[in-house]
């Protein structure tokens, strides 16, 4: 029976590399409106197909179609558009600020704005997100002051995190935004713990965990699924599949013929894939999952299919590992343009008003930036104190830290 043919080693490779023609022909995109919308109390076994398809609402003509359409009013959509535009402008300014040496580091959301902005709208006050570094839309759409975000990015004297954290590692309990960790994955299982706590206390609040496609390989992802499923925690577990993990394409984390969403099946967790560049679809699915959680039906796993248009961070140059024009070829388009077109299509918006809004948004961001820069930037102006460095390791400073602070002369 022994097969004596030698084995061979398999390493997944993306379709193309720099120099090649971008090719997404192997990515199957179902028609908008074609995927069923089950009741929130559905038996997960009935909807396994949802982990292998993509829920979409906006079609090529900018129409909202199918059973997942209609979760937001026109005015709400207009607001959503503004959130995404704000995030994009914010990113552009901060990216530039980093290039100007005003801070050490930045990470942008280009192409993925719909995911965090639309998700935020599906939550209620008191709910808690456990985000990665690429969900600033949760703050923007949640009304967190941009100036505060910038103060954090600049590590200036007004930085709410006192200069301790790398830029963009925001934290705001009031805005339902758990402290971002630089360690990938860790927050995913913490979200489950928070949700378990809410259930233990017979509260009504729910949690949302966030993770990137690449980071699903981390152990915390598994622990999150295990605990969420065992205790039926009221949590929405979000996977943002933006196709890349720094230089590594999603096939390295995904392997085989599975999808990230399908990882929920072994745990009996309902798992959905959704067009992450479709504001309406993201919102509808987020709302469905949030309602399941709040109705005590337990966790939902959601995979947002999107594309990281920009570099991974200001330390990265994607042209070294993927074709420069790959993002143009991405079949799900741009979330801002798609929502804009839909709003125009339904008569709530015009090209002119969009242009005008772009200018307004930019102006707001610039105003905030000016305000923030009054408090200093990383290497100039006001800065957090050295004392701040010694504070807050514990609720009360223990003797050894007091000795050290003294030694440091502060």
């Amino acid at each position: 029976m022994k097969n004596s043919r030698p084995l061979s080693f398999h390493v997944p490779e993306p379709e193309v590399r720099p120099g090649g023609m971008p090719d997404f022909s192997k990515v199957t995109i179902p028609k908008a409106g074609s995927v069923q919308r089950p009741a929130v109390d559905i038996d997960p076994r009935e909807i396994r197909d949802l982990a292998y398809s993509i829920i979409r609402v906006l079609n090529r003509d900018g129409e909202a179609v199918g059973p997942w359409a209609g979760s937001l009013t026109g005015d709400e959509l207009l607001e959503g558009l503004r959130h995404m535009m704000t995030l994009r402008a914010f990113d552009a300014r901060m990216q530039m600020a980093q290039r100007q040496g005003k801070t050490s580091f930045y990470m942008q959301h280009m192409g993925e704005e719909a995911v965090s902005c639309a998700f935020r709208r599906a939550l209620e006050p008191g709910d808690m997100n456990f985000p990665t570094y690429r969900q600033a839309g949760l703050l923007i759409a949640g009304g967190y002051p941009m100036v505060e975000m910038m103060n954090q990015i600049y590590s200036n004297e007004a930085d709410p995190l006192k200069g301790r954290q790398l830029p963009i590692m925001y934290s705001s309990k009031e805005h339902g935004f758990f402290s971002v960790s630089g360690n990938l994955g860790t927050q995913f299982v913490q979200a489950v713990g928070w949700a378990m706590a809410s259930a233990i206390k017979r509260d009504t609040r729910i949690a949302a965990g966030w993770i990137g496609d690449g980071s699903t390989a981390e152990s915390d992802f598994h622990a999150a699924l295990v605990f969420a499923s065992t205790y039926r925690a009221p949590v929405v577990l979000n996977i943002v599949n933006n196709q890349w993990a720094i230089s590594t394409f999603q096939g390295i984390a995904r392997g085989g013929s599975g999808t990230f969403a399908a990882r929920g099946h072994g745990f009996g967790i309902p798992s959905l894939r959704v067009d992450g560049n479709d504001y309406l679809a993201v919102h509808a699915v987020a709302k469905w999952a949030a309602q399941r959680a709040r109705s005590n039906f337990g966790p939902t796993l959601v995979e947002y299919v999107t594309y990281r248009v920009g570099a991974h961070s200001t330390s990265d140059d994607p042209s070294a590992y993927r074709p420069k024009t790959e993002s143009d070829a991405w079949p799900l388009g741009d979330p801002v343009i798609r929502l804009k077109n839909h709003l125009i299509r339904i008569g709530k918006w015009t090209k002119e008003r969009h242009k005008q809004a772009e200018a307004e948004v930019l102006d707001t961001v610039i105003q905030a930036q000016k305000e923030a820069e009054k408090h200093g930037t990383l290497h100039s102006g006001g800065k957090p104190s050295t004392r701040d460095m010694f504070e807050g390791v514990y609720a009360e400073m223990p003797p050894h830290l007091r000795r050290q602070r003294q030694k440091a002369g502060v």
Partner: protein, 337 residues
């Protein structure tokens, strides 16, 4: 005061904490229905229901990771890792998350969790039921590290740990669960019921974290130890007849440096003992601090007695364990130096 074993004292501490504060939640592997493999949580599920005391999947990462989330919500989880040897899968969550949450969120989120775990050898548990990993936690800013040596302290320290606003690693020397093992494997162990430190105050009772205690007064040499080694050191003093002052550190981080330096300045000599492997063990930190703060009082090099730098063996357990003979020898040598 009732006499208790260390297990009973720990259970009592958790029980009262759960009674006093609805936010205290207890879980871990086999912790719920069964009450834990060492039975510390026995009866708690029955008393408080399975929302407050429950079984967890075998994922130390998940246990600690969810506890951090619960703490961020506002609960006070007191979780069990079945043996300290199994804490490593949770190490990232402890080091990168629990320890730093308050700092990195500037107090926006805090992490009042207790991670309890049986530690130490002497039970023929081999390399995966015998380890003493305290030094892997004392190097981590933001954690507190506690090691009780008797039922009295176990209760007071565990209640303080549960009430502490920051994450506490709570190491329970399993060799002491039923009696004060003095490091003589060939001699029977007195049960706690016959030991004064088996007297455990009733009701609410805390011992502040960060306070050492002098277990045995002496003038010749100071012995710094914690957990099982406190009893071994006392035995070694008795065996050798050397008038050692034995200090039970109780909390390793933050450390009660005053009690230590006061003693060493008095005796002029110091021996540090622990069961963990020698190199980069917590004893190194103790030596570094003592020589820094008592340099001009020291009459002899500070000696360390510790587990050898090998994995914890099975058959050779008593060759490995730093028992009363080895501690005694270090006392003699330090006196002669």
């Amino acid at each position: 005061m009732p006499r208790m074993t260390m297990i009973e004292a720990l259970r009592n501490a958790i029980d009262i904490s759960m009674e006093r504060d609805e936010n205290v939640i207890v879980y871990g592997e086999d912790v719920g229905y069964f009450g834990g493999v060492f039975r510390v949580t026995q009866g708690l599920q029955q008393k408080y229901g399975n929302s407050r005391c429950f079984d967890a999947p075998i994922s130390e990462l998940g246990i600690v990771g969810t506890a951090i989330g619960m703490a961020a919500y506002g609960l006070r989880p007191c979780v069990e890792v079945q043996f300290a040897d199994y804490v490593y899968p949770a190490y990232d969550q402890i080091v990168s998350e629990a320890a730093r949450l308050r700092y990195r969120s500037a107090g926006g989120f805090t992490c009042p969790i207790v991670v309890r775990m049986p530690t130490g050898g002497g039970i023929f548990g081999g390399q995966t039921h015998s380890q003493s990993p305290e030094a892997l936690f004392t190097h981590v800013s933001g954690l507190k590290v506690v090691v009780p040596s008797n039922p009295h302290d176990a209760k007071g320290l565990l209640m303080a740990a549960i009430e502490d606003p920051d994450p506490v690693i709570f190491l329970e020397p399993k060799r002491l669960y039923n009696g004060p093992f003095e490091g003589h494997p060939d001699q029977p162990v007195t049960p706690w019921s016959k030991h004064p430190l088996g007297d455990v105050p009733e009701g609410h009772f805390t011992i502040p974290l960060g306070q050492a205690v002098v277990r045995r007064e002496g003038t010749a040499v100071t012995v710094l130890g914690y957990g099982t080694m406190v009893h071994v050191a006392e035995a070694a003093a008795k065996d050798t007849g050397i008038d050692a002052e034995v200090i039970d550190l109780r909390t390793l981080l933050p450390l009660d440096l005053d009690t230590i330096t006061t003693s060493v300045k008095k005796t002029g000599r110091c021996v540090v003992v622990h069961e963990a492997t020698l190199t980069s063990g917590f004893g190194a930190e103790l030596v570094a601090l003592v020589q820094e703060h008592c340099f001009y009082h020291l009459e002899a090099p500070i000696a360390r007695v510790a587990g050898w730098d090998t994995p914890y063996p099975h058959a050779q357990e008593w060759d490995y364990f730093p028992g009363a003979a080895r501690v005694g020898q270090a006392l003699v040598e330090t006196m002669e130096a």
